[in-house]
């Protein structure tokens, strides 16, 4: 072989090698980049928004559902008569003309004009055949029962990426389950940019949100809301709330508070109304706290129902503070049953002092006071109990009758529910089951948290509370023929270091039927103006709701 052949052969070899290297570069190294570039030319990637999971009440009715709405978008380069189109859209959409004009004047191929357009409005606009105007479907939250349980549900807003996000209540707590998983699809275009097929590769990871089945009973919720609202109006209260729970399981049957907000137009309401005060507001419980302290002392065998208070003949002085009864009437040698019946503060000081700080703190902890209840709602707060070295003698005394201690309503409801449930504290729960898009159900079993008192103590405490209902300050409003255990509460509101005796938080907590409780309920009124006492304001609301629930459960009264 001459050198000419060799050179030519080498040259061709180098050329082939170059071609192979280049092919390797484009087909292996740059493959994914080129693939993306090609995809951009023949189609665009679109986000597939999954349907948000429904929130259903225990009867399977969707209290938060989805409704199809549309995004009206425009291609300003294709809109022919911008002025006329803007005016027409502004009138049909009931929107500001300037904002629509500004959208249509943009130098872009795609601009969103209005979100949440209804089907009727869409059909009306489509009839006009406006060039450069289009619609994209999406789902919006729809509340068939309007603002029922608004603060329990929370609302759906947008996150910083513009995607749906649940805030507050169940929407916030279960956001990840409810929202599902976004999918991606490629919309293929022809040479003129018109879509060929509606969607390609549709099953690219889109998963609809899961449904929540609540323990909330829609009928009880409706009754509670209606009667609470009437009560707030009747007693001139600033606000009010009610919580109803099944003691055996800890499942919440109803929870409501007023004033509330409308989830559809949440932005028009004050931020303060978004939170659920039943789990987010701290208050001094007053006398509704007495059954907790009394049952602790009974359980420790420090007192019996017939134990007589030897220090109740007049005001009690603790560390220079005089402690009076609510009506300044004193019953010497009052029994423990009567202490609860007359809501005697001096009697509770006697009980608290017998109990002592160590035992008091231990019992409060096991009753769940000073800690979160574990309810599955976003926004629960708690005020931890002070460290032992920060308790003074007067603090122990006032805790006996529920002052100088801050709790949330759910803590009180759960603690009294413990007495109703024979001494076992259950975790309060809103969601009974989770339903997958394929229909499969995952039930959430009830969870026992603690057993602060024995069943015998719970039985004795129940009898004391039944006596309080039958013979106490709220006996005028009790339901004849039913054995109901309960306790009134009238807590003064601490303002700038002292208690304002003219403004109170009136409450009533109780359960029925006392022997086999179907529900435990707490009613709270904030600053009622017709009367400051729980027995005259919260108690009538409690018994009004209780009557309807007992009828609903078909529990008939018995002859007395």
């Amino acid at each position: 072989m001459t050198w000419r052949y060799k050179t030519a052969f080498l040259g061709i070899l180098v050329l082939f090698l170059f071609v192979i290297i280049r092919l390797f570069y484009w087909q292996v190294v740059k493959a994914s980049e080129l693939s993306q570039l090609a995809q951009k030319q023949y189609g665009t990637t679109i986000k597939l928004t999954p349907q948000r999971g429904l929130i259903k009440t225990s009867d399977g009715f969707p209290i938060a559902s989805n409704k199809i709405t549309y995004l009206l978008f425009a291609n300003p380069k294709e809109v022919k008569n911008k002025e006329q189109t803007s005016a027409y859209l502004a009138s049909v959409l009931n929107t500001n003309l300037a904002s629509i004009s500004a959208s249509l004047l943009q130098d872009k191929f795609w601009v969103p004009v209005k979100y949440g357009v209804s089907l009727e409005t869409k059909q009306k606009i489509e009839k006009e055949n406006l060039s450069g105007i289009g619609f994209d479907s999406s789902y919006d939250r729809f509340y068939p029962e309007a603002s029922m349980a608004a603060q329990v549900l929370g609302f759906v807003g947008k996150d910083d990426q513009g995607s749906d996000k649940g805030y507050f209540g169940l929407e916030g707590y279960y956001d990840r389950l409810l929202k599902g998983k976004e999918g991606l699809a490629i919309e293929v275009h022809d040479a003129f940019g018109r879509p060929i097929l509606a969607k390609m590769n549709q099953s690219a990871g889109e998963v609809d949100g899961q449904n929540l089945i609540l323990s909330i009973d829609r009928s009880i919720q409706f009754i509670a809301e209606k009667k609470l609202k009437q009560g707030i109006d009747n007693y001139g209260a600033i606000s009010g709330m009610v919580g109803i729970m099944e003691p055996k399981t800890g499942q919440i049957l109803a929870m409501a508070s007023f004033p509330n907000f409308d989830q559809r137009s949440y932005q028009d309401f004050s931020d303060e109304l978004y939170k659920n005060p039943f789990i987010s507001d701290l208050y001094e419980p007053g006398s509704t706290f007495k059954p907790i302290v009394m049952s602790s002392a009974l359980n420790s065998k420090l007192v019996k129902p017939d134990t007589k208070c030897t220090a109740c003949a007049g005001p009690v002085t603790v560390s220079d503070y005089d402690i009076h009864t609510w009506n300044d009437k004193y019953i010497p040698n009052i029994t423990m049953t009567e202490v609860i019946q007359h809501s005697d503060n001096t009697g509770m000081v006697f009980v608290a002092q017998k109990l002592g700080l160590d035992r008091m703190l231990d019992y409060l902890n096991t009753f769940g006071i000073g800690q979160t209840s574990g309810i599955d709602l976003q926004g629960e707060v708690f005020a931890p109990l002070r460290p032992k070295n920060q308790w003074y003698a007067v603090d122990l005394a006032t805790t006996g009758f529920g002052q100088g201690i801050s709790v949330t309503p759910i803590e009180i409801l759960n603690a009294i529910s413990t007495i109703a449930n024979g001494g076992t504290r259950m975790e309060p729960h809103m969601v009974e089951a989770i339903e997958s898009p394929d229909g499969s159900l995952v039930r959430i079993p009830p969870k026992a948290l603690d057993s602060p008192i024995t069943s015998e103590t719970a039985r004795v405490m129940t009898e004391i509370m039944v006596n309080a209902v039958n013979k106490g300050e709220a006996s005028w409003v009790r339901l004849k023929g039913y054995r109901i255990a309960g306790k009134t509460g009238t807590a003064s509101i601490p303002i700038q270091g002292h208690y304002d005796s003219t403004q109170t938080i009136a409450s009533f907590v109780g359960f029925a039927p006392a022997d086999q409780p179907k529900f435990v309920m707490l009613v709270i009124l904030n600053r009622p103006s017709t009367s400051i006492y729980g027995a005259e304001t919260a108690a009538p609301i409690f018994f009004n709701i209780a009557k309807s629930i007992l009828e609903y459960y078909r529990i008939s009264p018995e002859k007395e």
């Binding site: 969707p62 559902s65 409704k67 729809f142 097929l197 509606a198 009828e551 002859k559």
Partner: protein, 94 residues
């Protein structure tokens, strides 16, 4: 020498057969896009109808709606219950 030639022949035949099948299938499904599009359209339309009907159903069967309708029709809340409760049965009393 005969054996490799046979193997090569079989391979070439397989390639030709597979290519023919591929061309046939590609041709027969080429027009399915239209049908697929129609089906997708139909699914979309059914989903839309389902959504609209569900919305109407939920609105009409909500307690809020039922309560207001009942009031319009003149229904009122039950004021008191009549319960027959006695240790002696009504029959025995007579």
């Amino acid at each position: 020498m005969k054996r490799p030639a046979r193997i090569i022949g079989i391979l070439v035949l397989t390639v030709i057969m597979l290519s023919t099948v591929k061309i046939y299938i590609a041709n027969s499904v080429a027009t399915s896009g239209i049908m697929l599009g129609k089906m997708e359209e139909e699914i979309g339309s059914l989903k839309l109808q389902n959504s609209i009907i569900s919305e109407k159903l939920y609105s009409q069967s909500s307690l809020t709606q039922v309560y207001s309708k009942a009031q319009e029709l003149g229904y009122t809340d039950k004021k008191s219950d009549y319960v027959i409760s006695s240790q002696q049965s009504v029959a025995l009393k007579q």
